[in-house]
Amino acid sequence: MKSGMFGDIPVDVGVVYEGERIRKGEMHAELGGPDIKHKFELFRVKSPDKVEDGKIKVVGPEFKDMQEGSKLPFAIIVEASGKDLEEEMEGVFERRLHYFTNWVEGFMHLNQRNTIWCRVSKKSVQRGLTLEHLGKVIARLYHSECPIIEKVQVTFYTDPAEVEKLYSEALKIYDARDARARGLKDEDVDVFYGCTLCQSFAPTHVCVITPQRYANCGAIGWFDGRAAAKVDPKGPIYEVKIGECIDPLKGEWTGANESVKEKSLGEVKKVWLYTAFGYPHTSCGCFEAIAFYIPEVDGLGIVHRDFKGPAINGVPFSTMADSTAGGRQVDGFHGLSFEYMRSPKFLQADGGWYRIVWIPKEAKERVKDFIPPDVVDKIPTEEDVKSVEELKEFLKAHGHPIVEPSEHLKKLGVKGLKGVEAEVAATAEEAAPPTEVVTAPTITMPVSGVPGGMEFEIILKNAKIFAEKLIVRRIEKRKGGKE
């Protein structure tokens, strides 16, 4: 007899089954999946009187009654209540279903919402696994992991007619949820969330998560942060009172500054959330992409982690990543997530997408729908241009806004491509004659014991000087420090 919280479940339950794949030959039945139109999963927050804690209902055939090898429509509806539960957290809790169901030995769950694809194995069904057991596991795990869930009930639908009936309703709920999430602005909320999970590897890095800025890793949005902070108030994801807005364009808030300063132990004193310059958001190591400044055109390039080969500036991702990682604020090199590229506030203080002058094709495809239509075709990829010279030509030929910046961009301090070219021309004239000046390296020979002002000469005859090593060190001019 098994013991523990799943003692009554005939199969094992544990995170070890998360990566379990059930192949066709091992499969008893497929629920949802690419061949089935009607399938979905939903998490709904209800009032306590509408939820009977621990109730599991199956509408339609159980596993054992399904024909071996069959494919069926499928729906999972989880209804929960709790005094701190909010409707806007539904999406966050819904995604836990993927993990909870996968942890059941012999049950596979892929994708989410109305794309779910599940399989149950012959072996587990033979051992007596039922949908009812699956429901019990789900309910217990919600209780165990999320103490703010006070009551929870689970209903499975495997009857095709029932699933079809509920399907369109589910789609409406997803749409409404998406509209709400997309519509939510920084201005609509009074708290942001901070995340220090990465401090286990990057001890000075702090993420600030707002409705319009995902965490760098791409894994935690504002709603996730809200749920996590409620579930574990002492945990590494916490509330940040936004305080006063100092600069809405750059994205500076007093509350964010204080929080970042506190959590980075003073290493980072202020943060501008919507720019790659000045006091940009820090980067740990796992950012999905980098925005990098290209001085020749006064624009920003984007390169993502999976892009092989050098970016348009001749530098590969790995090298640029090294320049920006480790919880530092680096002017002009900025680690970010794909989700942030989809935000209307994406680098808004720098001109947003109007400032982006190069992006790899694969990355562009992923965010294409979020690039303003009047610039989307003007941003070249690695297939269009191979060098900065070609880039300049492309931008000019396609009339990219960086060539002659609009009034809006000018206000943001953007010089534009023509501006840069004019400056270069002016500098070249000043520095006449235009031949390259070579400065000979000087060797200083400190001679001790020689009285000041006394002239001397050194005569070497048939001298042979042998240096075992000659170290050539580039002397870099230090950039001006931050305040």
Binding site: M5, G19, F201, D232, A325, A467, E476
Partner: protein
């Protein structure tokens, strides 16, 4: 960069007048942007303090293998029961001295190998040949070299400076073992760590050099699948067998064949790391198997020519090769094997003498010449030899088995105490199954066949192989060719899942084939942890053993799991000298996530790794001195290593005491205050008695002080789950690893809570410190 010389017949400046001035520079070293750290080219005393910190936490536990010391003519001295030797040394110091000696031999072997290789590659490719281990996806190309020496190597010649340093250190280490030098066991142990660190640098030199020049896969997750197993060898062709670790002669064999259109008409196969490295060069080459396959394969008579280079070669190889009339070519001055040095002779003469059997073998210290001779001899001799073998047919095995008197002399000399007499008894009745089953657990040492062991003159090892013919014919497997380094971008990609607790750790299966039982335990362990979404790395003989396994779908683990450094990935880095890619990955994490400076900043990086990076090494069949020095390189970085039961013969373990609360405090770098972090990782070096014990230790030793609650929860989940599976109950020390309620795995909450209650567990007030053992890393909170 090569040497520079400037000569002025006459030079007149305001300051200087010179005639016949000559200015020459030995080497020009290009500096780079990274500031040098505090410890470039550390000597054997530099990290004493760091080592002592680790050795306080993980106290050496000695396992005397022998009570006597017989190293000098004062002795023999009996060191048992607290006695000291004539020189004053006690047992603890003597045993740690022995570990140092072993690790120094190991480090010297890799360093000597690297030196030989770099010299040969410079002669062939030039001093300025650029180093490239992974193109644009590898920014940190030589993490160990940069970390220890402070050198950023760009060309082959730059590696010479690194080796100069390593050689100096090894000389000092070895000299510390002389009578009347070091006397304290902990200081010996510190030197052991030093040997290990130098070993990783030396190995990195060797592998970077060969990857950059020979066009091996460059940090490629999709490195090709190559063939492994005795059943893959096409014996209808002339067969050349290469054994050892130094690949250049084998590369020359492959080149000669390619240049003469012989690639498809001759079979080249190998044993040990030369085989692994050859398949990184030519996918047509095949791997016979690990070191334990030497005797059985040579005796099978498949090989028409045997070419040996260095390390892990049977020292009776001349005798064994002669038994099957296969000429032997030694290509290395470290390994003449008593053969005549024919390097200066013409190829025609050498080929004639070998084909006609005038000499058993020759030494040829010129790789190119050795390559040509091997191919030409194989072609000419194969028809004559007709695969002459000394492995008996099944009927002869049955007859021989009848002679057994069950005296158990063979069992007494067998390192794995295999039940040979029982198997022979069955064989004598015509049932070869039990004898053939021993094949899987036989380490191939041949001790059971030595003169004077069996009174009935039975050759058990030979009979085991003879009874396993069908098994051998089925040995056709796939292994991913050694990919070399881990890409920087791969490390970035796993950062988030590690922090979120989706990847529970990195496990490295490394080392030799001196397994305590069946070799299948290694692939079983590796598969289990890939399934559990650990990142599993491997090298050397362990990598081969993993490849020789088939799952229920008939796939090798390399076919079943991706070759990328990711959750559930199975990464074959390559040969023994590829191990620094594994330590290097841990080193890179510190640079990539925390931007800690790597350059000559060893102590800080080791502290980072020890407290944060959940990595553990498993050397299930470690036998050699090299294996011990490789392990000690991991120890100094604070990475625990688990060995199989034979590993206890290394004479000491480094064990933590989980019941000693005082030992497990770290400094919280945020505040400077000390914080209890729990016994993580619990041990630095431990021998597991069984595979099951090792599998429970792996997730346990992946726990680190900086784990997020999500990370700790998943590590605990695997620890508890495996413990329950193998031992039927919850481990009784779970409470020591739960810092806060959020650490408890969600699927085990009830049982764990009950255990915590029983143990009187209390929540840790500071469950997530910024852990360090180095007071200088405390970050004073800056004001203003």
């Amino acid at each position: 960069m090569s040497k520079t010389r400037i000569k002025f017949d006459e030079l007149v400046t305001d300051l200087v007048k010179a005639k016949g001035l000559e200015f020459s520079v030995g080497r020009i070293i290009k500096e780079w942007e990274e500031e040098p750290g505090p410890t470039p080219m550390p000597d054997i005393g530099t990290f004493r303090e760091w080592d002592h910190k680790l050795l306080t936490k993980y106290k050496p536990f000695y396992l005397p293998w022998c009570d006597l010391c017989c190293l000098c003519t004062f002795g023999k001295c009996d060191l048992s029961k607290g006695k000291r030797g004539a020189c004053g040394l006690d047992m603890k110091a003597q045993l740690s001295r022995f570990v140092l000696l072993s690790c120094s031999i190991g480090a010297a072997t890799h360093c000597g190998h690297a030196r030989h290789m770099v010299e040969e590659l410079i002669a062939k490719f030039g001093r300025d040949h650029p180093l490239d281990v992974g193109g644009e996806n590898v920014y940190l190309e030589a993490p160990n070299i940069r970390l220890v020496t402070g050198i950023k190597p760009r060309t082959l010649a730059d590696l010479e400076d690194v080796l100069d340093y390593c050689e100096t250190e090894i000389v000092h280490l070895l000299s510390s073992c002389h009578t009347g030098q070091e006397g304290d066991n902990i200081d010996f142990e510190s030197k052991v760590f030093h040997a290990g660190m130098i070993d990783h640098v030396s190995m990195e030199v060797a592998d970077i050099a060969q990857i950059s020049t020979y066009g091996f896969p460059k940090a490629d997750p999709d490195a090709p699948l190559i063939e492994v197993g005795m059943g893959c060898i096409d014996k209808s062709k002339p067969v050349i067998l290469v054994i050892g670790h130094n690949v250049p002669p084998a590369v020359e064999i492959a080149d000669y064949m390619r240049n003469h259109g012989l690639e498809d008409s001759i079979e080249v196969c190998g044993i040990c790391c030369t085989a692994i490295d050859l398949t990184r060069y030519s996918q047509k080459a095949k791997i016979v198997g690990p070191i334990s396959f030497q005797l059985r394969f040579v005796r099978s008579g498949f090989a028409d020519v045997i070419v040996v280079d260095e390390q892990c070669i049977r020292t009776d190889i001349v005798v064994e090769a002669q038994k099957v009339h296969a000429p032997l070519i030694s290509t290395h001055y470290k390994n003449f094997q008593g053969l005549q040095d024919r390097t200066g002779d013409s190829v025609d003469d050498i080929v004639r003498d070998l084909v006609e059997g005038r000499v058993p073998g020759v030494a040829i210290l010129d790789s190119e010449k050795a390559g040509e001779v091997a191919v030409r001899v194989a072609t000419a001799i194969a028809p004559k030899r007709k695969k002459f073998k000394i492995v008996p047919e099944e009927s002869a095995v049955i007859e021989e088995a009848k002679k057994c008197r069950k005296c158990y002399a063979c069992v007494r000399v067998c390192p794995n105490t295999l039940p040979i007499p029982e198997a022979l008894e069955e064989a004598s009745k015509g049932n070869l199954q039990p004898l053939s089953e021993l094949y899987e657990s036989c380490v191939g040492c041949g001790r059971c066949e030595q003169e004077g062991i069996c009174p009935a003159q039975i050759h058990p090892h030979t009979l085991i192989v003879g009874a396993s013919k069908r098994r051998i014919a089925e040995e056709k497997h796939k292994m991913r060719a050694g990919r070399g380094a881990i890409q920087d971008v791969e490390i970035r990609r796993v950062g988030q899942p590690i922090v979120m607790g989706e990847i529970p750790g990195v496990v490295a299966f490394v080392g030799c084939a001196n397994y305590p039982g069946t070799w299948k335990e290694v692939p079983i362990m590796a598969s289990e942890f890939t399934k559990r979404r650990y990142i599993v790395c491997t090298t050397g003989c362990a990598a081969m053993s993993i490849g020789m396994y088939k799952d229920e779908n008939g796939q090798s683990p390399y076919e079943a799991y991706p070759g990328a450094f990711e959750a559930g990935g199975l990464i074959n880095c390559g040969s023994c000298v590829s191990n620094p890619h594994i330590s290097g990955a841990a080193i890179k994490i510190a640079s990539i996530f925390a931007k800690r400076k790597l350059r000559s900043n060893y102590e800080e990086i080791a502290d980072y790794i020890h407290n944060r990076v959940g990595a553990v090494g498993v050397a299930w069949g470690a036998y050699s001195q090299k294996a011990s020095s490789i392990a000690s390189g991991f120890w100094r970085l604070g990475i625990p290593v688990i060995v199989g039961p034979h590993g206890s013969k290394y004479r000491r373990m480094l064990l933590g005491r989980k019941d000693d609360k005082e030992a497990w405090y770290v400094i919280d770098a945020r505040t400077g205050k000390s914080a209890y972090a729990g016994p993580v990782p619990e041990h630095l070096f431990i021998a597991a008695e069984t595979m099951e014990e090792a599998m429970v230790l792996i997730p346990k030793l992946c726990m680190r002080a900086s784990d997020t609650t999500k990370g700790r929860a998943i590590k605990l989940n695997h620890y508890i789950d495996l413990h329950r599976r193998f031992f039927g109950e919850l481990p009784d020390d779970v409470h020591l690893f739960v810092r806060t309620i959020a650490d408890i795995p969600v699927t085990m909450k009830d049982e764990v809570m009950a255990l915590l209650k029983e143990k009187g567990w209390e929540e840790n007030e500071n469950p997530n410190p910024d852990p360090t053992l180095l007071p200088r890393l405390v970050r004073a909170k800056s004001e203003g």
